[in-house]
Every structure is written in structure tokens, then in C-alpha cells.
Amino acid sequence: MEIWTNILLLMLIGPFMAAIFGVFGAVRAPKKYILVSIGGIALSLVCSLGFLWILGVIKPAGLLVTQFAWMDFAHSSIPMSFVVDPLSAVMCFVVSFVALLVFIFSSGYMEHDERKARYFCFLSFFTGAMLGTVVSNSLLTFLIFWEMMGLASYLLIGFWYQKPSAAAAAQKAFLTTRIGDLGLLAAVFFLYNKTGTLLFFDHGAGLLEPAQIALLQKAGLWAGAGYLFWVCLLAFWGAVGKSGQIPLHVWLPDAMEGPTPVSALIHAATMVAAGVFLMCRLYPLYESVDGLLTLITWVGAITAIFAGMIAIAQSDIKRILAYSTVSQLGIMFVGLGAGGPAYAMFHLFTHAFFKSLLFLGSGSVIHACSGEQNIYRMGGLKAKMPKTFLAYVIGAAALAGIPLLSGFWSKDEILYRAFEHDKLPFLLLCATSLLTAFYMTRQVVLVFFGEFRGTKEVKHHLHESPSLLTTPLIVLAVFAALAGLIGTPWMNLFGHFIHAPEHEINVPIHLLMMLTGTALAFGGLLLGVKLYWNRSVRTMADDPLHKLLGSFFVFLNERCRVDELYEATLGRFMDVAARLSDYFEIFLEFVNRMVGGLVYTLAWVENKVLDEWVINGIFSAGCESARIKGVLAAKFQNGSLAFYLRMMASGALIAGIIYWVVK
């Protein structure tokens, strides 16, 4: 099947070549370049549709693998490998489709930005990396593209680098995801060491295939849990980082500093979904370990309710959506843990459409309001921006789970599985659904209904966005509304395609779930309407919820002060560690100087004691005595003739006496 390798290459080359062009001189002809990059994405979309066609129609049962050598050692090698199976084909489609729409939207949104060529360069790079992640067959290839996505995210969040908040947000995002990535990297090490392969599918010898899984299950224990447990936990930590689950969720809301289309693509539809995708990909491993799926479910559920609670108290239009994304990702994890990859993927699928719709819609709103992002200063936009309003409402309704829209079907499935599996997460999920409907209603009412509460100047400029912005919205709205229909319990095309295991459908329970879902959605809706309809909420103090919840509302508005907590604990810890290390350095330097001083002292001692005192002393003493003797001897030279004569005489006499004695 050589042709599909070519399609794969084309799909990846399109965006990457666009990115490379962008680096080398796209700045000179930005408009042409934008067309080139859109062309690259369109190419990817065509290729993904090709994959869907091949997998869906021509070769329905297979998965297709290709690999080529990357690092060759003497007796082993690490290859780069790609696979296109239904899972990746679906993701490819979602990614390239949403990306295309985001690109088109961006060409209008970023029209007046002087660095727009750079923007499209980074965006193409990101899209290429995301597509690469999705079709990877090797955990290493996956990791490489995954990190490239992190880099792209860093570049895009910090795109308006002159804003200090943007720079800080980019840094935070990269650092937090990197902390998660370390877990994934460690998992890669351990997997490779034990099994000697990093390929997912390798004709029976891949990681996800029964032989290796059996091997991993038999590997040793550590701290009471199996090898496979720890490996999977580490990989999950990586997903937690990338998908913004608790405790690594702090970067996602800050990532809203980037341009809105970036938020739509990266932080709603694709990159954050990569964590979910990773879990789905590695599901055979997770299935084989006890307890981990439960952990995933719980993490997802807690994140969902936590983020939902914070979302109801936010006042920035994008922040609400960001926390909503975190919350929905939590729901996806619950779906994975309680049900399986098919449920998580289905929700990912629908979520991509309505969340990107909502983000792009908010972008349209922000564009119309000349940059205003605070919903307390919006209002009554329904009349001014009908198309945006319509699309937005559809998106919000889909998110809230209004029946027959896409979100309803995917969430319903997850509720069903959660109910069957774990009751407590199910309850948390119900609460989350209620909150979701509530905060979306709150947002829609405050933004689109009532009186405009902003400044006169902004009001003056209010207008519907150009068609370049609204057309993608409409397209997405259609999908947000209808996409769910391929996954209804009675006609589950989606599940079929992904080879989800067949389940017995317990019809009464299922209907109960649908009713529950509907009730929750409408309940939240009504609550929101009741609190916010026809109210003029200009500041946080005016907010009815504030009156209801008091300081708890403020606490939620401050995002439960998680950032402050991290700063106080981890930040402090790093600070202390750094200081301790510095003290150690200073200590070592002190030791150095001591050694140096010791040597210097030794030298001084040797100089003073040996040289000066001992050797010089002896020498001087010797010389001194010689001198004194010389002085004595010199006394014989006193210049007196008489003395000399007397000496001569006595000498002669003594000599004569000696001669006479000896003789």
C-alpha cells in the first residue's frame, strides 16, 4: 500500500513546508504566504479525508503501518514509525478540519497585526506537529511531535511578546507541560528498557499487542504496585500536563493571553485533546492494570467539577471557555476510565467542534468590541451581531447538552457509562453538567442580551464581523449541531469505525440517562436565565451570584488561588533548594580558599621558619662569630711599630722555647 504512505507524507509535509517557508522570508509577502499556509492545511484535510475513505470504504478492517530507520546502532535501532488506524484517521480529520477553519478565521482576525506571517508560520508548525502526534506508531515519535507542539504553543501563547503577561503565560505553559512531559519521558524509558521496543503496532511485537503487555505485566513490583502500573501512571501524568487536569491545569487559563484563534485551535480542539488521545492510544496497556482506570476516572471527575465551579465566577469571556475546556477534558477522561476510548474520542470529536466554535465566536465578539474581553462590559450584542449570536448559541447549547445537539449525544454516552461503573463520579459529572449549562447561559445572557454596558466608544464601533470570520463560525455551528448524530446509541457509526467493543444497551437506563442529561441541561439553563435575565451587571459586585455565594464567589473568581498555592509551596521549595545549593557552592568556595590559605600559610611558615630563622639564622650566626674573631684578630693590626716589634720578639722567643723543649 505505497500510496497511502505518500498520502501520509503529503499530509505532514503540507503544514511543515508552510512553516519552513514562513521562517525564510514570508514576511515580505504576508498575504501570499497566508494563502500558502492555508493551502498546506487544505492539503492535510484532503489527505485525512482520503484516510477516512480508505479505512472506511476500501479496507475497513486494517491498520496501516510504515516505518523508517532513524537512529541506528550496531545491533539495534530506534525507528520512526507511523500508523493510520481509525483512531488516528478520526483525529487527523478533526485536526485538519478545525485547523482549516481557524486558519481562515485568523486571516481575517489577524489582518491588522504586523507579524501575521510569523503567526501563520507558527500555526502551520503546530498543525504539522499535531498531525504527526496523531499518526505516530512509536512512542518516541509521538513524544517528539508532542514536544514540538509544546514549543509551538509556547511561541503562540507568547505571540504578542511585548505584553509581559503573555510572556509569563507562555513560560508557565511550557514549564507546566514540561513537568508533565517528564512523566511521559520516564514512562518511555521504562517501557523501552523492559520491552526493547517503542512501537505501538509491530506485527504482534508492538507495545500495545498482547505479547508485550503480558511481558510488562510480569515485570517486577515496586512499592507495592506492578511495573506496568507505574509506567502507565507516569504516562498519565504526561497526559495530565498536556490536557490541563488537576494538578497541572494552571497553565490553560493563562494561555488565553494568546490570540483567540490560537486558543480555539490549540487550547480547545487539538493540543489539549492530545492527552486524551494518548490515553486512548495506550488504552490496551491501561486495561491491563488494576486500579489505574479508576484513578483516571476520579481525576477527570474532580477536575470537571472543580473547573466548572471556577468557570461560573469568571468575568473574562475567554477564561470561562478555558475552564470549560478543562472541565470537558475531565469529562473525557471519565469517559475513558469508565467506558473506553470510543466514548472519550466521541466527546473529543464533538467537543472540538463546539469548543472551537465558541472560541472563534468569542474572538468575533472581542473583535467587534474593539478588544474588550470582560463580559460585564458587554451586552445586547444579539442585535448587532446576529450571525455570531446564532452560531454562538448553537455552540453553547451543544456544550450544555441540549438534546439532539452533538454535545448531548457524547455526554449522554459518558453519563451512561459512568452510571454503570462508578456512582460517585457519575454524581460529580451530573453536577458538572448542571454547572456547564449554567455558566454558558450566564455567559450568553451577559454577552448577547440586555443592554450594552461598555463604553460609548466601543458601542459606537460595534458591528458584525466580516464574512471571513463568520463563515467558519457557521460551518462549525452546523457540525456542532449535527455531528453527534453519527454516534447515537442506535446508529453508532462512530463507535463502529473506531472498533469500539459492542455493548449491551440497557434501554431503560439509557433513556434515564438521556432524561437526566436533558433535565440537567435545562435546569442549568433556567437557573442562568433566572439569575441573569434582564439584570444590568456591570461589576463583580453586581453579579447575582456574588450576592448568593458571597466570599466563596470571590474565591472562585480568584481561581481558588491555586497559583498562589503553587507559588507558596513549590515556588518556595525551588527557592529554598536554590539557596541551599548556593550555600553549598559558597561552602565549597570557602573550602577552596581555606586550602589556598593553608598552602599560603605553609609557604609563609616555610619561608619564615626555615628560610629566615633556621637557615639564615645559622648562616648569620656563623658569619657573626667569624666577624668577631676577625675583629679580635684585627686588633693585632694597630699600627703601632713598637707593638709589632714586641710581638716579633716574643714570637721568636716562644718559637725558640718550643724548639728547645721539643729538641
Binding site: 684578630a633 684585627a634 686588633k635 693585632f636 693590626q637 694597630n638 699600627g639 703601632s640 711599630l641 713598637a642 716589634l645 714586641r646 720578639a649
Partner: protein, 102 residues
Amino acid sequence: MTLGFILIISAALFCIGLFGVLSRRNMIVILFSIELMFNAAHLNLIAFWRFGENPLAISGLMFVLFSLAISGAEAAIGLALILRLYRHYKSVETQSITELKG
């Protein structure tokens, strides 16, 4: 006129000369005291020649004549030196010439 008698006389002469050398301040006196010591030695030599084994051998007399000549020469040199010294130091006292000392 025994040998002993002449020896006593030459010994006395020698001692007088020695005394002069050792205790006189005047350099000329020292000089001729040295001459006196010389002559005492000569007398000793003559005595031993005349009262010895071969009183008529001419070598004894030659010996003394040589010695006399040399002592005369030496006295001349000594006087010349004293004259020079006198010209420089304006004195013939031994105490006034003490520059060469250590």
C-alpha cells in the same frame, strides 16, 4: 779570654739591643738598636770561629764580613725609610705613625 766571656759580652750586647728595640720611641734609636743586635750576633759568630775547630779557616771571617755588609745595607735602607717617614709625618716617634691598622 774564654769563649764563655765573649758569649756573655755578646749576650749582654744583644739584650741591650733588644731592650732598645722594644722600649724606645725614637725610630733611629730602634734602628741602631737593631744594629747593636746584629753586631752582637756577629761577635758571637767571631767568638765561635776563633774558639772553634778551625780558627784559621777564612770561611768564618767571610761569613761575618758578608753579614756586616748586609747589615750595613739594611741600616741604609732603614735610614732612608725613616727619612721618608720623617718628611711625611714630621716626627720620628713610633706613636705618631699608626695609620696602618685594622
